[in-house]
């Protein structure tokens, strides 16, 4: 069973993600609202995928945390964000994201982006990215 680490600063959204992922048959490796803790969890749990919010609690943002996690442990990272502007996409692009999920997300979008990040394992943006 593939494991997913959830990094999200909104408790309710994190709960929702955890429940939806469990229902879709994934193992949730951990949930945190902090980038620093995400790196520690990624090292301990070695998740198959990280779902990463861009805005996090604490000093480190999601893009930086994703860069470190990907560089150190090779876990693919999918960004979950309400941001849709080019600047954030550009910055997030440098950490080789394996997909984007725009908030508010749909379960179908979540399923597709997680599946494609896990199976194909190469960078791919969600359908909304280019507009």
């Amino acid at each position: 069973m593939a494991s997913v680490l959830i990094v999200e600063d909104e408790t309710i959204v994190a709960l929702d993600l955890r429940r939806r992922l469990t229902r879709l048959g994934y193992d949730v490796a951990g949930v945190t609202a902090y980038g620093e803790e995400a790196i520690v969890l990624a090292e301990q749990q070695r998740p198959d995928l990280v779902l990463m919010d861009v805005r996090l609690r604490g000093t480190m943002d999601g893009v930086t945390a994703a860069e470190q996690i990907h560089a150190r442990f090779g876990s693919p990272v999918v960004f979950v964000t309400a941001y849709a502007d080019e600047e954030t996409f550009g910055r997030a692009g440098r950490s080789e994201p394996f997909g984007y999920l725009l908030k508010p997300f749909e379960e179908e979008e979540l399923r597709k982006v997680v599946e494609s990040a896990l199976t194909r394992g190469h960078p791919q943006g969600s359908a909304d990215r280019k507009t």
Partner: protein
């Protein structure tokens, strides 16, 4: 004769000397006058130059002040835009939280009717979120072009009701006109309700057909058509007095944007909503 000539010459010489002396005085006088007027002119030029220099200095100061003011205005505009983006972002985030809450709550029931009610509520929130999404991405942060958002909204509804576009074809023809937020959100919700109704009721028992959402605009009017070629509303059904929350929302929101609504039974159902630009 010689003497006469000599006397004449002397006379002439004296006359000439006098004339020459007069001329000299005249020249001197004229020179003095010229000198005077040159001095005057120089003085005036110097005065005017000082005046002009003061003028230029003042103008430069004003220009500098204008440039600074403009820079201030630009900076405050940039700040305002950033703040607006931040607000849209937060609104979207909050709408995500609402959707998550609905979804978490729905997980505690298995009753299909209740689940359906949750799904419909979620769709309404999502339709609002999509308008904010479009706004957030547009360069004009006060007005939104509905076209991309209507397509996404309908695609979402098809997925939500598990309908394939091969069974019920989807067409959206949306003018590229921009609407302000006060109309874009009700308009999105109206489309959400009417398309949901069509997907739920117009094609029973897996029937095939098509849904067409069309928004036209002329100089002063918008016309929104939501059209399907399904079975139509039941005979004698008054959509204005319907029990259905969806239709109540449609009528209420049409009124809210100062529009009119009519129902046409033309080989299916057509809702035609008009409102002022």
């Amino acid at each position: 004769v010689l003497l006469l000539a000599l006397v004449g010459l002397r006379l002439r010489t004296r006359q000439l000397r006098r004339a020459s002396a007069r001329l000299s005085r005249l020249v001197e006088e004229r020179t003095r006058e010229l000198q005077q007027s040159r001095d005057d002119l120089e003085k005036r030029v110097a005065e005017r130059t000082t005046e002009l220099e003061q003028d230029i200095a003042e103008r430069k100061k004003t220009e500098q002040a204008l440039v600074e003011r403009e820079e201030q205005i630009r900076a405050s505009l940039r700040e305002k835009e950033a703040l607006l983006k931040e607000i849209h972002h937060r609104v979207k985030n909050n709408l995500q939280i609402i959707i998550s809450l609905l979804n978490l709550q729905a997980a505690h029931t298995k009753d299909p009717a209740i689940l359906g009610a949750f799904a419909e509520s979620e769709n309404r929130v999502r339709s609002m979120a999509l308008v904010h999404e479009s706004l957030y991405r547009s360069s004009d942060l006060a007005r939104v072009v509905l076209a991309p958002h209507v397509q996404r909204l309908c695609e979402h509804l098809y997925r939500c009701y598990g309908v394939d576009t091969r069974r019920i074809e989807l067409r959206t023809t949306i003018s590229d006109a921009a609407l302000d937020l006060d109309r874009a959100i009700p308009c999105g919700l109206i489309i959400n309700e009417l398309v949901s109704n069509a997907l739920k009721y117009a094609f029973p028992d897996g029937g095939k057909g098509s849904i067409h959402v069309k928004l036209d605009h002329s100089l002063d009017r918008y016309t929104l058509l939501v059209k399907d070629n399904g079975i139509g509303l039941p005979e004698g059904f008054d959509f204005r007095r319907a029990d259905s929350l969806g239709l109540q929302l449609v009528c209420g929101l049409t009124e809210q944007i100062g529009g009119t609504i009519e129902y046409l039974r033309d080989g299916g159902s057509t809702f035609r909503i008009e409102f002022g630009a």
